[in-house]
């Protein structure tokens, strides 16, 4: 239901030209569209009732993000999802309500250069009076500039490499201790590298015990990105199929060449594999934390990375020169598909995690 609402909204209000204008524009998204999406209550589907939403299951998240992928939507849903899921764990319900309602754009400031796991976090937070101050740099934070609120992961104890000692903080990005360097992403939307120079911060959840909340956020993010990739793949498949049927060379539609037919068949097959990976991950998402659950999420993101690249490259190739043009929607889908592999860990990272998690499961 909500997916249909979203699909109609995207078709009416965010067709590709409008999307590109916003995605590559100064704000990196369309604030008016975001406000309308909030009115429609879309983000509510990402959260369970006790968190103020009306969904929140793995399949709710997957279905919504698949639709966002189909529409190549750059609105800041990922930040809402990830920050919201983390705050749901820490129990910060007021803030959560504003996020679910879409009133606040929140960015989940987590990535650091060379850090792929919670344990790798090196940005530090130290006590100052009865509050905290954060020091360090977070990179490529989606909508980091547009955000009115930052949820920041930082180390309050221990050393990089330790899972304990990591905490979550809310930071007001307008504080002078926060420097945001924003830029357009190659696949559209804007991100920011965010520097914290003794920036005042409010601890949420237990000190040094943020790992569970952070993982709740990244788990949801992995599912969301995998589903978004699937949605983008479906559109790419349809666009390419359509092109094979209409583009004429040597007096026939190029779809008549068996060499291309088989390539298209491979694409179809692999996209169905990607769909199954998302289904596996969505089903596992609702299970209690376990290595099997984590493996399903890693498997989905690995699959999205591997197949996303293949689908993007093949679709461009099958289009020939036109597939490389800015003017064609396809090229923007191709860019998004490849760049999803640069968010929350790439295909190799998740393959390695999958192997390590399997080892753990056998060992226990």
């Amino acid at each position: 239901m909500i997916a249909e609402t979203l699909r109609r909204f995207v078709a009416d209000e965010l067709p590709i030209d409008a999307r590109n204008k916003a995605a590559y524009g100064e704000r990196g998204h369309d604030p008016a569209a975001w406000a309308r999406l909030a009115e429609l209550g879309i983000a509510g589907a990402l959260f369970p009732e006790d968190a103020g939403g009306f969904g929140g299951h793995g399949f709710d998240i997957a279905v919504l993000f698949e639709e966002l992928g189909r529409g190549l939507v750059v609105e800041p849903f990922l930040g809402s999802l990830m920050a919201g899921r983390a705050l749901a764990v820490t129990g910060d319900h007021d803030r959560l309500a504003a996020i679910v309602a879409g009133e606040t754009i929140v960015a989940f400031a987590h990535d650091e250069a060379g850090a792929d796991e919670v344990a790798d976090i090196a940005v530090r937070a130290d006590r100052a009076g009865d509050g905290w101050r954060i020091e360090g740099t977070k990179i490529v934070v989606p909508h980091g500039e547009a955000a009115g609120l930052l949820l920041v992961t930082a180390r309050t104890a221990g050393e990089a490499g330790e899972r304990d000692g990591v905490s979550l903080f809310l930071v007001d990005p307008s504080d002078p201790g926060v420097t945001r360097r924003g830029y357009t992403n190659i696949d559209g939307g804007r991100s920011a590298d965010i520097g914290f120079d003794a920036a005042p911060a409010t601890l949420v959840g237990g000190e040094g015990a943020g790992a569970a909340a952070i993982e709740a956020a990244t788990d949801a993010g992995l599912l969301a990105l995998s589903a978004e990739a699937l949605g983008a793949m479906e559109v790419v498949r349809d666009l390419t199929l359509d092109y094979l049927r209409t583009r004429q060379q040597f007096g026939v539609a190029i779809g008549k060449f068996q060499a291309l037919q088989h390539r298209m068949a491979d694409l179809l097959l692999e996209i169905e594999q990607a769909r199954s990976a998302v289904i596996n991950a969505a089903a596992a998402f609702d299970e209690p934390t376990s290595s099997a659950r984590s493996r399903a999420l890693a498997a989905a993101k690995y699959t999205a990375g591997r197949i996303g690249r293949m689908v993007a490259e093949e679709a461009v190739q099958l289009h020939g020169g036109i597939g490389m043009t800015w003017e064609l929607p396809l090229s923007h889908y191709a860019k998004r598909l490849v760049m999803i592999d640069h968010q929350l860990g790439d295909e190799d990272h998740h393959l390695a995690r999958y192997i390590a998690l399997g080892r753990d499961a056998q060992g226990s």
């Binding site: 990535d111 250069a113 060379g114 792929d116 796991e117 790798d120 990179i139 490529v140 990089a160 490499g161 360097r181 830029y183 357009t184 992403n185 190659i186 696949d187 991100s191 590298d193 004429q248 060379q249 040597f250 007096g251 060449f257 060499a259 291309l260 690249r309 490259e313 461009v316 190739q317 020939g320 020169g321 597939g323 490389m324 043009t325 800015w326 003017e327 090229s331 923007h332 191709a334 860019k335 490849v338 760049m339 592999d341 640069h342 968010q343 790439d346 190799d348 990272h349 393959l351 390695a352």
Partner: protein
């Protein structure tokens, strides 16, 4: 088979290396190494440096200002230049039109056009492809109709690389509609400043404005600009293809790109160690390195055959396919190497005069754009599917 240089070849290699050390501007090499955009002036600068040394036209005989090199010398030069991160020589005038004029041009045409290619008076572009004629090039429709001592040209070319800088365009045009489509094509040289020509840029997915559409409306072209006979254009185009596909493997350029990739992989970190020590990344790197080493020898085998008098035929299709796949794989690993920092897209950072602090590692800015831009390698110059078709027919006889 001997993979080593002979004594003379080794001496020549040293001479080329010395020249590159002395004359290749550091600024240009840095741009090529890091994948930043080369402007018109950059390309002209490098052409002028080569021309001064007499090393610009590596396919031309000495009497016309070329090097007169054999296939092995040419290979050594191309390899060393690529390894030193020299800009590529723009192929359109030097490697495409030049050989065509030398083979099919009149004496007057050679005397007029060849020196102007060398000294950079004319910037040439290639007007083959049309919206309806890509892989099926012979399906081209742009027409040239004889009117006294002129041809009147109407139609449209597309994907014309760097036409925005061009003084001249060589075109395949239709001069006859009556018979087989290949038999009604002519090869025409057209002044880009002629009334009736309009150039419109095409923006590529990475923002690059390297290709254009070129529209012709009643453009008058003097008949002396016809190369070869009327309706002989297809023969010329096929002849030119053999030149278009020399150095198609791009071994040197891939080796250079691989070195740059390794340098980045040594400094980037993943999971608490250097990326180059990450087992999965290391495996990707090793695979492409092995592929490249194998292809370097395949390339030498083809060169040895050509040096022995054989004309490179369908073998160049093998090199084109493998060469582009390997190069694309390297650009893929390069963007991977930067992780999250491959995403920022600051176009100004790819151009001259950008002095701001880089976002992330110094060399991250062009990585993703370069990856997307290099998708073209398997599309142009005869797509890899078309090359496989050639192999299927010419080598396999299927």
């Amino acid at each position: 088979m001997n993979l080593n240089d002979t004594a003379e070849q080794a001496a020549f290699r040293l001479e080329v290396q010395q020249f590159l050390r002395d004359k290749l501007p550091r600024r240009l090499a840095d741009k090529v190494r890091t994948g930043r955009r080369l402007g018109k002036a950059d390309m002209e600068e490098w052409h002028a440096i080569l021309n001064e040394r007499g090393w610009l036209a590596t396919h031309w005989p000495r009497e016309w200002g070329g090097t007169g090199w054999d296939v092995v010398e040419r290979h050594i030069f191309e390899e060393e230049a690529a390894l030193a991160y020299a800009p590529r020589i723009l192929p359109f005038g030097i490697n495409m039109l030049g050989p065509v004029l030398l083979k099919f041009g009149t004496d007057a045409q050679k005397r007029h056009w060849l020196p102007r290619i060398l000294d950079g008076t004319d910037w040439w572009c290639q007007g083959y492809s049309e919206p309806g004629a890509g892989s099926d090039l012979a399906g081209l429709k742009t027409s040239a109709v004889r009117d006294g001592d002129h041809y009147v040209v109407n139609g449209q070319k597309t994907w014309t690389t760097l036409a925005q800088y061009a003084d001249m365009i060589f075109c395949l045009v239709r001069t006859d509609n009556s018979g087989k489509k290949q038999d009604g094509i002519s090869f025409l040289l057209i002044d880009m400043r002629s009334p009736g020509i309009e150039v419109r840029p095409i923006r590529l997915l990475d923002g690059e404005a390297e290709v254009n559409e070129v529209f012709f409306t009643d453009v008058r072209v003097p008949v002396e600009n016809l190369v070869g006979e009327e309706n002989q254009g297809w023969t010329i185009a096929k002849y030119l293809l053999t030149y278009e596909r020399t150095n198609i493997a791009g071994v040197g350029a891939s080796q250079a790109a691989l070195e740059q990739l390794k340098a980045v992989a040594r400094t980037q970190r993943r999971g608490g160690r250097a990326l180059i020590d990450d087992p999965l990344f290391a495996a990707r790197l090793a695979r492409v390195e092995i592929d490249l080493a194998n292809m370097a020898t395949t390339n030498l085998r083809v060169i040895a055959a050509a040096a022995g008098g054989g004309a490179p035929g369908a073998e160049s299709s093998m090199l084109k396919i493998k060469g582009t796949i390997i190069r694309q794989e390297i650009t893929d690993l390069y963007r991977r190497a930067f992780g999250a920092h491959a995403r920022p897209f600051v176009e100004e950072a790819l151009e001259d005069g950008w002095n701001e602090e880089p976002i992330g590692p110094d060399e991250a800015a062009p990585a993703a754009a370069g990856y997307f831009n290099n998708r073209k390698l398997s599309i142009f110059g005869g797509s890899n599917e078309i090359q496989k078709g050639i192999i299927t027919k010419a080598i396999l006889g299927l």
